[in-house]
Symmetry: C2
Subunit: 270 residues, 2 copies
DNA sequence: CTTGACTCTCCCGTTACTGGAGGCCGTAAG
DNA sequence: CTTACGGCCTCCAGTAACGGGAGAGTCAAG
């Protein structure tokens, strides 16, 4: 005869859990002292407890375990096992999908982190041509939210990068700007009201702006100063790539928003 | 402005859940009528709700999601993502182990089911030699429980089949039987008090007995009748293989216990 | 004005436990 | 003899993320 504490040591199950299993009828002591309420167990309970642990490791619920343990008809057993197997496999499938998305999320985040390290430095690079879907419009920049919404819904899983905006105006305009919201896509596709085409590549001056959008002006100034200093010629449209901002999942801190300004240029030696 | 029901339709989230998210501070309506208590949401909430759904699919807890959604410092974000990734991967690992055990369990169960279909028919087959670890003793059959316990503990993961018993007596004895509890093992190994060796193979008469152990006698009679009818000579020891019985995980119904009687024989034409 | 759809709050139930309060019992030490 | 300690008991509350239902108030259309 074991007390509950002894059984606990033998089975590695906490006392609380053993009491709970008693309450649930899974592991009923062979004797309960009517005066003290002490539970007393014997050898058989050690084995049952181990069986319970085993079945819990197979992710069975306690009620399933109860049925398995005192099922007199074992015709059900195979059915129960198969059911459990499909439950477990479904769960694994779901988790794997989650893990995959997480991986991708982490990659994106790392990329943004990388970009952040070169923030506020003007750089030159060569852009490769890039397929995008875009919606061009005229109005205020702040109205671009719904445009990206439409792009997201229409292009869905074909999107393969960060949202961007093309500015067709040569100078800054507040009210009546001519701009195009774009999303890079994996392949050409048809979508109503969306212009899917290739953006040209070429030599480009780039700067990753870190901070809220209302301070983009300073960064633009830097870029244009660089272009002038090098006697390049800026080509329209200029591009803003929203590496990190609000609207994707969570708002974050505007101080950490990352926006890459890209301006294609013609150099003297071209 | 949306009512809660409209937001529910837009987000595919149950009304109950939206109320719960409000309570948790995850999705606080932009306006709550102080008289009626009605919640009113706007477009931003649709997006936040989608973000919540997305993060829930990544298996984040609601409190994590809360932190992510209003984290002003996103330095943490990568850390949170990595933590979540490891949590998810751990969980997948655990579930895969469970799935594997389940698969094996199902295979065993199917095998037993197969054996059951040929129950109570005498058959001849050829046994291949088989490595076992055994403990031989003298006494009552009912005392074999602890022997199997010792075998299980000592041989552990090397066990590769059903428990069996060898009967060295030529006739049935109750009190002072000479028998050996055995477990088939994958490879030779040393274990104190356990005799690991190869059981010989050869032609054998077999019968799968279905039912409680106290009715084994009838099945033995059938086997011996078959042996006599065919003028075979029974070789000692006879074997009992416990295909399905109590003691493994759960007790089941004695009417469905499966025990294979195997008796090696010499045939006239050998 | 009525009706039916919608919404509100409040409470309970789920799963498999875990933690804590408060109390009983027996033994050992001071 | 008192105190402390360890083991046991019961009962209550809390976890995560909702779901179900009661009972009451609200909205918009006919």
């Amino acid at each position: 005869m074991f007390t509950i504490g002894e059984l606990s040591k033998l089975t590695q199950l906490p006392v609380k859990t053993l009491r709970f299993y008693h309450e649930q009828g899974l592991l009923v002591p062979s004797y309960v002292d009517p005066d003290t309420g002490y539970r007393y167990y014997d050898q058989r309970h050690v084995e049952t407890a181990r069986a319970i642990v085993y079945l819990r490791n197979l992710e069975f619920s306690l009620s399933d375990i109860g049925q398995i343990l005192d099922s007199s008809r074992d015709e059900d057993l195979l059915a129960v096992l198969l059911r459990q197997q499909s439950i477990v496999k479904e769960r694994i499938k779901g988790l794997r999908k989650a893990a995959k998305s997480l991986d991708q999320f982490i990659v994106e985040e790392r990329k943004a982190r990388n970009m952040a390290s070169t923030a506020n430095e003007v750089q030159e690079k060569v852009l490769t041509p890039c397929l995008v879907g875009g919606i061009r419009t005229r109005g205020r920049y702040s109205d671009c939210g719904p445009l990206f919404g439409r792009l997201g819904r229409s292009l869905g899983r074909h999107i393969c990068g960060s949202a961007m905006m093309l500015h067709y105006d040569c100078e800054y305009r507040e009210d009546d700007a001519d701009f195009e919201a774009c999303m890079p896509v994996r392949r050409t596709l048809e979508a109503a009201g969306i212009d899917v085409r290739e953006l040209p590549g070429g030599r480009c001056v780039s700067l990753v702006h870190r901070g809220p959008y209302d301070q983009l002006g300073h960064s633009y100034a830097q870029v244009f100063k660089y272009i002038n200093d090098h006697k390049y010629k800026a080509l329209s449209p200029s591009r803003e790539v929203y590496l990190k901002g609000p609207g994707m999942i969570f708002k974050g801190n505007p101080e950490n928003y990352l926006t890459e300004i890209q301006i294609l240029v013609e150099t003297g030696d071209a």
